[in-house]
Symmetry: C2
Subunit: 498 residues, 2 copies
């Protein structure tokens, strides 16, 4: 299925696949791909690969099997007999609600999927166990009189593996209520030994960074933030704690991309073996031997996600910080502008080479190659609407960050929270991204052509990358509008503080 168009049930785009929902005919479903794709074992692949002749494959196309890789075609013919089980199958999400003591209609959601391709010890059970332990601890706190102020919703998603179906359909089915009540969604999935990886909405970056500084790494005793910084430094990066941007690939997708709810994705890894992912070898035995033998990173994950959940659930002022968000946005705009600039330089250089017949003279005359032709020139795009919008946004963000919100009276704080909780939703647009309206977030999306891989400022960036200059200029204006809308919204928040 073609998830960059929309994830979830292929037959119910944009609405919940409930028992009696109206379903598309299979033939109409746009996300069912026309070419069947299935991973097969190397034992099954080997005779097929061996039967290929033609040129030897270039190095980067070679696999690890002990044979000489050719790229075909043929000469062998393969007859592929396809069997599909086209039937509806129920999927079961498990949703557990701990009602908040003070703000029952403000929800913090915390989820992990429970379905697996086979045994799924790492993916998803290692993350699910941490979630359940966290839920148990929070439940004990509640029993002992420390019920959180806001409602905690623990979710075990079904049918994540075949296309984020459980979470997507649940979000679609409860969209209105979620957009009324949800403050944040915190996702986990497979977990292992090593370093914290944290992605998500950049307004949550400061809070996650604070939590990471408070959770000890099980192996070294340093904080998980310090270990993350160390590995980044050693790999040539900097020591700033930064959230990566979310594309797709786990159950945060419908929350952030479709509903516009501030989201996080958390997990540890980098010090465990791989190779078992999505196979029959992802077993308890393998996990205990190779991934996280004493389960201490499961505990670390429960501590990390649990602290985040409880901070969000109990904070007087919702812990959103728009300064790193705005700074990150600036780097995205820089990237996008540089992309356009380097595409222009490349096209100019190419056209110069065409004009002086350099390709012609450099080509081997015996190979009978056609010379490249001129490329259309890359126009100068007007980025000023975005630059101006970001600049005004920066002023508003700075004004807000100068306020001491913690000293405001409780009523004011409540009023502020009831605005803050919808801030992320201001970054979505009703009509969504071009050609894929399901994706509504204007800052983050999985790329149209990159599978799970993220494209930030997706409307603008993808139009530029696809050399669709008219659309790029439109999307610049549209995104500037979204940012101006966000600025006004932050202005409203600022006004509340007076």
């Amino acid at each position: 299925m073609d998830m960059p168009l929309y994830p979830g049930d292929v037959l119910t785009p944009g609405y919940g696949a409930t028992k009696d929902a109206k379903r598309l005919d299979r033939e109409e479903a746009p996300t069912i791909t026309r070419i069947p794709v299935l991973p097969i074992s190397y034992a099954d692949a080997e005779p097929l690969l061996k039967a290929l002749e033609g040129p030897v494959a270039p190095d980067s196309w070679k696999g690890a099997l002990p044979l000489t890789y050719h790229i075909g075609p043929g000469p062998a013919k393969v007859r592929l007999k396809l069997e599909f089980e086209w039937k509806l199958q129920p999927a079961h999400n498990v949703i557990a609600v701990l009602k908040g003591s003070q703000y029952p209609d403000q929800w913090i959601l915390r989820g992990n999927h429970h379905d697996a391709w086979v045994h799924g010890a790492a993916d998803p059970v290692s993350g699910m166990v941490a979630l359940m332990e966290e839920a148990r601890a929070v439940g004990m706190l509640a029993k002992n009189g420390q019920r959180p102020k806001r409602t905690l919703v623990y979710c075990g998603w079904d049918a994540e593996e075949p296309g984020l179906i459980g979470s997507t359909e649940w979000v679609e089915d409860h969209l209105e209520e979620l957009q009324q009540k949800a403050i944040a969604y915190i996702n986990t999935d497979g977990n292992g030994r090593g370093f914290l990886g944290a992605g998500g909405s950049h307004s949550l970056q400061t809070m996650v960074s604070e939590v990471a500084a408070a959770v000890p790494d099980p192996q070294t005793g340093a904080s998980i933030k310090e270990r993350r910084a160390a590995v980044d430094l050693v790999n040539g990066g900097n020591d700033r704690f930064e959230l990566y941007a979310l594309g797709s690939g786990s159950d945060y997708t419908p929350f952030i991309q479709h509903a516009g709810i501030a989201s996080l994705n958390l997990g540890f890894g980098g010090e465990n073996a791989g190779g078992e992912y999505h196979t029959i070898y992802d077993t308890y035995t393998h996990y205990k031997r190779f991934k996280d033998p004493d389960f201490s990173y499961g505990v670390a994950l429960a501590k990390t996600a649990g602290r985040i959940s409880l901070r969000l659930a109990n904070a007087d002022i919702l812990p959103l910080d728009f300064k790193p968000w705005q700074q990150t946005l600036s780097t995205y705009l820089d990237e996008v502008m540089k992309t356009a600039e380097s595409m222009r330089e490349k096209a100019e250089k190419h056209n110069k080479l065409v004009a002086q017949n350099a390709y012609g003279l450099a080509a081997d005359p015996k190979k009978n190659l056609a010379s490249p032709t001129e490329k259309p020139a890359v126009p100068y795009l007007d980025f000023s609407p975005l630059q101006n919008a970001l600049s005004k946004l920066q002023e508003e963000v700075e004004a807000l960050s100068k306020q001491d919100l913690t000293s405001l009276p409780a009523k004011k704080q409540e009023a502020l929270n009831s605005l803050l909780m919808y801030a992320e939703q201001q970054l979505t647009s009703e009509e969504g991204l071009p050609r894929r309206p399901w994706y509504r977030h204007q800052i983050y999306a999985p790329g149209f052509y990159t599978g799970y891989g993220v494209k930030t400022l997706p409307g603008v960036r993808e139009a530029i990358e696809q050399e669709n200059w008219g659309e790029a200029q439109e999307q610049i204006k549209k995104l500037a509008g979204t940012l101006e809308h966000m600025r006004q919204y932050l202005g409203k928040i600022n006004a509340q503080t007076e």
Copy 2:
């Protein structure tokens, strides 16, 4: 044998291996390596590679055989029985002299080796044929009354493949006479279809560029200079015609590196198949099918090298231009200074990471790795002697290039030529490079650890790369002295023009 120490006969370092020469005992010969090395066929290699176990080899260590590469050790044991034929074997250089009509004691040397590993259709015969055809044409010109003004020496070297032995021993044996009479040495070797590759002394760059502009490419009708520029442009380079710097790997080595005679290396290629190099497959049949089927690039090579030989042999003023030489030198100095700078930055960064225990926190505690320790700080080297020398050199070069030497009276021109012909030799030093006195040129040398690969400004560059800061500072002073000596020499030339 360890050629970066000295090439040629391992038993006669620095002097000719003539019949009655005093020879080292084999045990004393420093260039005989202690580990025997021999290329073997894949059929012989396969059982050895298959017998290795241990970890799977990283991708960059894998060969192309259809087996899983392991890095060992063992478990198989291999018993290697070595047989060497330790005996003296005569080698025969063929030297043909066409005495110059006007300046018989000014020599232009033109060489190619005639020995081969097996059949050697490409290496060396394709180059040797072009040399012989050139010699035939020059001979006909002489017979028809157009004998060149200067002496042309055509050389067919023996024993190039086992270590540049023929040319090295001949140069060593005739060193004094060569340093008196030789103006330039022009080398060719295997040749093929495609683009001109030209390396050598940068004072010859302008002349080679002019010749390249005059020789037509056999396939396109454009000049070979235009084709070279086209392929450079398409591969991301610029369209300036530049000689590459000579390291080692063919018979120019003793001429430029040891005797300090301005040298060139010429050949076509880039549009022919490879794989036959140094094997039994380098046959006439293979050459005619895959390398240069109509031998037109052999003709192009004869035209290129022939024009260069005749220009040098007949020029009123020797065609040396020190402007590109000085500019190239500047880029070398930039490179060397940047290397030192980036080594300093790297060491500083490393030491910072050590100080904050980043390596410790980034390492997998289960792997029991020792943390890296502090590196000695990289001192700031004083490059000013080189910068000042180059700056003064530049003034002298510019003064010279402003002169109209062609309008000088013949006697003056002769006097100039008798200085110009020794200019390259001013760039050598009697004591040679550190730990390898055979290599006397201060601008070009094969690297001590890079086989044939060149290191420019070798004394300074290699000391820096080896973090030998004391030696680097010494070599800077020494090279600055060489450049100052060269400046004075160019000053003498300038004085002659008045």
